[in-house]
């Protein structure tokens, strides 16, 4: 069933509108750039890009699969815990004397298993993903603690950890960010240009109709959750390398930040709408703001406040504009109220028979 929520559900955005969304985020980014360089002349430097983007790498990675999942009108809140579990494993196995070359694949495998477990509960048992992943969020974090407990493994060799924070030679792009770039392109193509991607949108917009059209709804969701698990585990590996130490409590609370990034990217939480580009832009925006405020010596609590306010404003803005247009349209020569009207009413019509 579609996760439409109450009266407030926004009218469906059409392609043109999505474009407008990305434009909006882009403007905000430009704004941030101006603000940032105003606050500190350290802002618009290669170093700052390297530092900030490296800090965002894990969030950014996890945002990619989550984007696809949210477009199918599901959600995965367990990613941050999988990240922690993967880091814990990495530490434990390293202590146990495994070679990194074996540890990393194993961590990814465990990530896949975690994702698969989510998937089974959601598609086979038919539980709502929100509930399931709140549960596994707790459980996987618990596993992480069981594996590594309070220990912190830190004797990873420099030869590996450097890939966590150093730049690709001759660029200002840290290795994790480069990896993100590659994956982002892959995800974008898959989502926007392939059968798989089209079916993802169809599922999000109307799961039942998709199923009646021969779309393998369950299979697709399973794939997505497994991928999400793998990428989360990968993020765990990267974080471990970046911070040169493995910990069970890495990424605590990231889940909501990732969701925020995805939503800010213009992905409808009800599914069926959104784009990878939007999410990438949103990630840039979040990173930019953080760095600008931090460099500007503005205390961290304000970063929190601004993030939240931004999230609201970005979605609220367009809605209010639309409201205004409708209002004007009605008072003014009514004949022309059409476009906004159609946006306003049709979806409601749909929602009426939604159940």
């Amino acid at each position: 069933m579609s996760a439409e929520r109450a009266a407030a559900a926004p009218a469906p955005r059409r392609l043109s509108e999505l474009a407008r969304w990305e434009a909006l985020i882009f403007l905000l980014i430009v704004g941030t750039m101006v603000l940032g360089s105003g606050l500190s002349d350290e802002f618009l430097t290669g170093d700052n890009f390297s530092f900030t983007s490296a800090d965002m790498a894990e969030i950014a990675l996890m945002a990619l699969p989550l984007t696809l999942i949210v477009i199918t009108a599901e959600i995965d809140l367990s990613v941050a815990s999988i990240l922690g579990l993967s880091s814990a494993l990495m530490g434990e196995l390293w202590v146990a004397g495994w070679p990194i070359e074996a540890i990393i694949p194993f961590c990814l495998l465990v990530g896949a298993v975690c994702g698969a477990f989510n998937a089974v509960l959601i598609t086979r048992v038919g539980l709502p993903s929100l509930a399931v992943t709140i549960g596994t969020l707790t459980m996987y974090r618990g596993f992480a603690l069981v594996v590594l407990g309070d220990a912190a493994v830190a004797d990873f060799p420099e030869s590996y950890t450097r890939y966590g924070f150093e730049n690709v030679p001759g660029t200002i792009i840290p290795y994790p960010v480069a990896l993100f770039g590659v994956l982002a392109i892959v995800f974008a193509v898959v989502l926007h240009k392939t059968k798989f991607g089209r079916e993802i949108y169809a599922i999000g917009a109307n799961q039942e109709a998709a199923f009646f059209s021969g779309v393998r709804v369950k299979r697709i969701k399973e794939i997505l959750f497994v991928v999400s698990g793998i990428v989360a585990a990968l993020a765990g590996v990267i974080m471990t390398l970046r911070l040169a130490s493995a910990r069970a409590d890495y990424g605590t609370g990231f889940e909501l930040t990732v969701v925020a990034a995805v939503v800010l990217g213009g992905v409808s939480i009800f599914g069926g709408k959104g784009s990878i580009v939007g999410v990438i832009l949103a990630l840039f925006l979040l990173g930019g703001i953080r760095s600008a405020l931090t460099l500007g010596q503005i205390s961290q609590e304000w970063v929190t406040i601004v993030t939240g306010a931004l999230l609201i404003a970005a979605v609220l803005g367009p809605n209010l504009v639309q409201r205004a247009r409708e209002a004007r349209a009605h008072s003014r020569d009514r004949g022309r109220s059409a476009r906004s009207g159609s946006l306003e009413h049709r979806p409601r019509e749909k929602r009426g028979t939604d159940e």
Partner: protein
Amino acid sequence: MSEPSARSEAEAKPVIALRGASKAYGAVQALRDVSLGLTPGEVRALIGENGAGKSTLVRMLAGVERPDSGEVLLDGEPITFSSPHDARDAGVAVIYQEPTLFPDLSVAENVFMGRHPVRSGRRIDRGALRKEVAELLRRLGVPLDPDDPVRGLSIADQQIVEIAKALSFDARVLIMDEPTAALSGHEVERLFNVVRTLRDRGVAVLFISHRLEEVFEICTTVTVMRDGEVVWDGTTAEVTADDLVRRMVGRDLGALFPKQDTEIGEPVLEVSRLTREGVFVDVSFEVRAGEIVALAGLVGSGRSEVARAIFGIDKPDAGHVTVAGKRLRPGSPTAAMRAGIGFVPEDRRQQGLVMDLSIERNATLTRLGALARLGVIGRGAEQRLASEWAERLRIRFHRLTDPVAYLSGGNQQKVVLAKWLATDPKVLIVDEPTRGIDVGTKAEVHRLLSELAARGLAVLMISSELPEVLAMADRILVMHEGRLIRELPGRGTTEETVMQAATGRIAEAAITAADEGPADGLGKEGQ
């Protein structure tokens, strides 16, 4: 009885009216300067092709939307309904075209939501609630329990609840947008009896339907719409069905059901001993190339469930399906599609289409695999496929990239057909293909189906409209309470025979059948 008096005051003043109302949706001009009035004791039919603007007009009177220009008059006074709430307070009761129920709540609460009878301290009086609803349901003659949750009711039962809801506030105006689309003959009868009593009590009724015989049975006056305009307004006495049809479609129609004889080939679809606990039992039959087989039966007899099981939506508990000799993996629509089955489901808006996606995306959803080059889908190919089918089915749309939600019921149904015909299937299953579709479009759908049959397609058609069944089908399979109890020839079978079988009175049915020979023999007569 009170009819004449009602009439006379009718001339006096319309209780509710629309004057010069226009409404546009984007580029679509849904209503153009429409005027219409309802007087007490009048039962007025509103007919028109799909997309003529009937439901839009309803939404104006119901306060769901406000006209862009023009006005709503209540007792001759201009009034603006800012919400359905206002309209309701003004005594306007509406049955919308699409059921608007609360699946999680009981039938009783659905009927009285927001108006529960209350006792001291404005607390809800559940006893009274149950009694009133039970009474309403009795008047409609359906054995629904007021405490049933609505989730799980068949579409027909849901429609009944809608009607009960509309009757529950004794309104001065009752507006019904295609209330009978999902109902069987008997329920329609009951509904009409209720409507008559309301009319005699001086209630003004607006009745929308695509079934003209119903219009003549219950309505005194008729308004015909075409392309958002009122093109004719008069009494049922002064016109014939054909006149109305001509006025609706603006042209003469040939025979409505042009099923041409075709060369019947080898069995393509074979269903054997298919069973799904609690819904249908031991269903076996075959459909041959070039043949149209109809599944007849009463609403709730399990026809859709059979269709769903064949296509793999539901997993059968026993039995199996073979297509062109190959056994299907049960419970897998993908397998069914690969084997060459197409399925136009019963519930267009929920199962047939993805309302938010564009016409184009919907039409190509079943063909993505084929459209992809090296896994990547080309815009051009997609467009070409979509526009080709839009053309062939004469779909009326503004832009292929508009959400399919903007189309009217009939045109939406065509998109569903397009999406399946695009897969070039061997077997096409259509469940209520013409439900809520106007005569014009209906004729086109029928023409299409028989054309396809002529080209060797095997068609399994589920329909609750006996005339359609009788005219289209080579063979008629009758279901009763989940069992396939009878096979009848398409030709020379009367509605009565089908009805008798459908209502399970095999005894008599068998006798009539006896002098027609063995059932399967009859099947061949279709050729």
